[in-house]
């Protein structure tokens, strides 16, 4: 029978009645990987034997009733997460062959709940990109449409779920990197509140923005995965100590909500079909009894410049650790130390990463620090204060996840600003540290998926997920 499940609860109940098993599920996903991965390039490494072995163990645990919450879930992880004794390369040549000595907290937590990790997934180098075209492994491809990007930076993670090469994925979201590929691939992508999930073992891009989040077919499984990976952790001093809620029980306080939509977002030159689908969704929400109002956010055009100043600055600092000494690529020709650093880094990093390190170094340099970096930190405060103010009046702020559906490979690589503008609606949540989810909202005339984004107040994931489940 088909192992093509959409919810873990269905998988678990079918395992109980003997209609499927972890072994059969792993075989199903491995078969799909062998059929499709050479074309889609979603997985950069598959842990086939390990996954098969693990499946036997977990089937046994289920039989004796000692299995964890995620038993039956076959997961893929983005190539930015550390998994003990496995390679993690962050989609970069500079980390060629790097094997982690420890598990990322999120990896440990999903393993503790008996998830099976089937492989690591393609992404833009260090998470820097919106189309998965900046990967040392080459691009991943959207399974829908000819030659379309899957989005990025967690492109491989989205395609793997879309094409049934695994059940769910763990991605990372610094400016939209979970939500945007989820939208482009017709899936659910959740970016939690900043600090809700420990970043220990996540290869850092921009530490005050980075969030780990799930990519799934349903809101139910996004909630379940968040419940497992969230919460305090001795290894991350920024992680929140606020109690983790039972997100997967979907208990919401309200039946109807006050919803604000960003007027500027709807009027900002959307692809007509994206605009149409969004307006229809808003009308539906109103018809269901929710209050829907347009809100002004005149500062919307400043989200992206703020984001790029701060993230390139943080990246230039974070990526200084890649120096050819402790791990990864080294140029062996260099005769002295500084030359070794420079040649190793220039050979190891891709073009976009080198550019962002240069930008970050510039905005942090003594003469320009105040004009760029401090200025952006001030604007970040203004954006946060105004967003918080709106979220006192409204339960949620909504907009399309992306201005367009998935574009063609190569279409935006020549003009970086065009590529950056695609993240206009997703970056806000990272600039202000709030939770946001992308859910499917129909397709355009070519059948390419459209995403609808919902953003909530800090640590309001329970309400956010309950609402998303209701309206998906």
């Amino acid at each position: 029978m088909s192992q093509n499940y959409t919810t873990l609860s269905q998988i678990q109940s079918d395992i109980q009645t003997g209609q499927t098993s972890c072994v059969e599920l792993v075989d199903f996903y491995l078969e799909n990987i062998s059929l499709q991965n050479s074309k889609l390039n979603a997985f950069v490494e598959v842990f086939a034997n390990e996954a098969k072995q693990k499946a036997i163990e977990i089937d046994q645990k289920i039989k004796v009733g000692t299995s964890g919450k995620l038993a039956g879930m076959v997961l893929g992880i983005k190539d930015l997460l550390c998994y003990r004794d496995h390679v993690s390369q962050a989609g970069s040549n500079i980390l060629k062959g790097f094997q982690s000595q420890f598990n990322a907290t999120v990896v440990q937590r999903v393993l503790d709940e008996d998830a099976i990790i089937i492989g690591r997934q393609n992404c833009d180098e260090f998470g820097m990109g919106s189309s998965n075209e900046n990967s040392s492994y080459g691009p991943a491809y959207n399974a829908i449409g000819e030659n379309r990007v899957p989005g990025g930076s967690s492109g491989g993670s989205a395609v793997a779920v879309q094409a049934n090469m695994c059940f769910a994925s763990l991605g990372t979201d610094t400016g939209g990197s979970v939500r945007q590929p989820a939208a482009f691939c017709g899936l659910v992508g959740l970016k939690p509140t900043y600090s809700r999930v420990s970043r220990w073992g996540l290869i850092a891009y921009a530490s005050s923005f980075d969030c780990i989040g799930p990519i799934t077919k349903t809101v139910q499984d996004a909630a379940l995965l968040l419940e497992v990976i969230a919460g305090k952790d001795e290894n991350d001093s920024t992680v929140s100590t606020i109690e983790v809620q039972d997100y997967s029980s979907f208990v919401s306080e309200k039946k109807t909500y006050k919803i604000g939509y960003l007027k500027e977002a709807i009027e900002s030159g959307l692809q007509p079909e994206v605009k149409e689908a969004t307006l229809k969704k808003l009308a539906d929400l109103q018809a269901q009894g929710h209050t829907v109002e347009a809100v002004d956010f005149p500062m919307i055009k400043y989200f992206l410049p703020t984001y790029y100043i701060l993230t390139t600055a943080e990246a230039s600092s974070n990526l200084s650790r890649f120096d050819g000494v402790k791990y990864g690529h080294r140029n062996n020709e260099a005769k002295e130390l500084i030359e070794m650093y420079k040649t190793s880094r220039s050979e190891g990093f891709g073009k976009e990463t080198r550019k962002r390190i240069m930008l970050g170094t510039f905005v942090l340099s003594a003469s320009y620090y105040d004009a760029y970096y401090t200025k952006a930190q001030k604007v970040r405060r203004l954006v946060k204060e105004y967003t918080d103010f709106l979220l006192e009046k409204y339960d949620f702020i909504v907009c399309p996840t992306t201005p367009t559906t998935a574009y063609k490979l190569g279409e935006k690589t020549t003009d970086p600003l065009q590529m950056y503008l695609g993240d206009l609606f997703t970056v806000q949540a990272n600039v202000v540290g709030l939770p946001a989810i992308s859910i499917p909202n129909g397709t355009d005339s070519e059948g390419l998926p459209i995403g609808f984004q919902i953003m909530a107040g800090a640590f309001q994931e329970a309400e956010l997920l309950a609402f998303a489940k209701e309206i998906v």
């Binding site: 929140s240 100043i309 402790k326 420079k342 510039f362 760029y372 401090t374 001030k378 405060r381 970086p416």
Partner: protein, 95 residues
């Protein structure tokens, strides 16, 4: 503000990167177009705004001061491109 060839090389040195002569023109135009776009922030009055430096609500994450094992030396050296069993090896630093 525009970066010129000289400041480009200075930034590259600070970033421990090489920008080869044939890469200069493209890098310059790319950096300058992004910087011009970033300067749009100057349209906003931030005279009395304090910079937002932390996004987490946590203030001090304290723990007991006890010794716990870290990774072993062998594990620490495992990924090094060049090591001698005790130290990371690098090219000569002093003349």
């Amino acid at each position: 503000m525009k970066i010129d060839q000289e400041s480009l090389q200075k930034i590259a040195h600070l970033a421990r990167l090489e920008v080869k002569p044939e890469e200069e023109a493209e890098m310059l135009s790319s950096l300058n177009s992004v910087l011009t776009w970033m300067e749009e922030l100057n349209e906003i009055d931030t005279e009395n705004v304090k910079p937002l430096t932390h996004i987490t609500l946590e203030i001090n994450a304290l723990r007991e001061d006890k010794v716990i094992p870290s990774i072993s030396r062998a594990e620490g050296l495992f990924n090094a491109p060049k090591q001698d069993g005790e130290y990371f090896r690098v090219p000569k630093v002093v003349e």
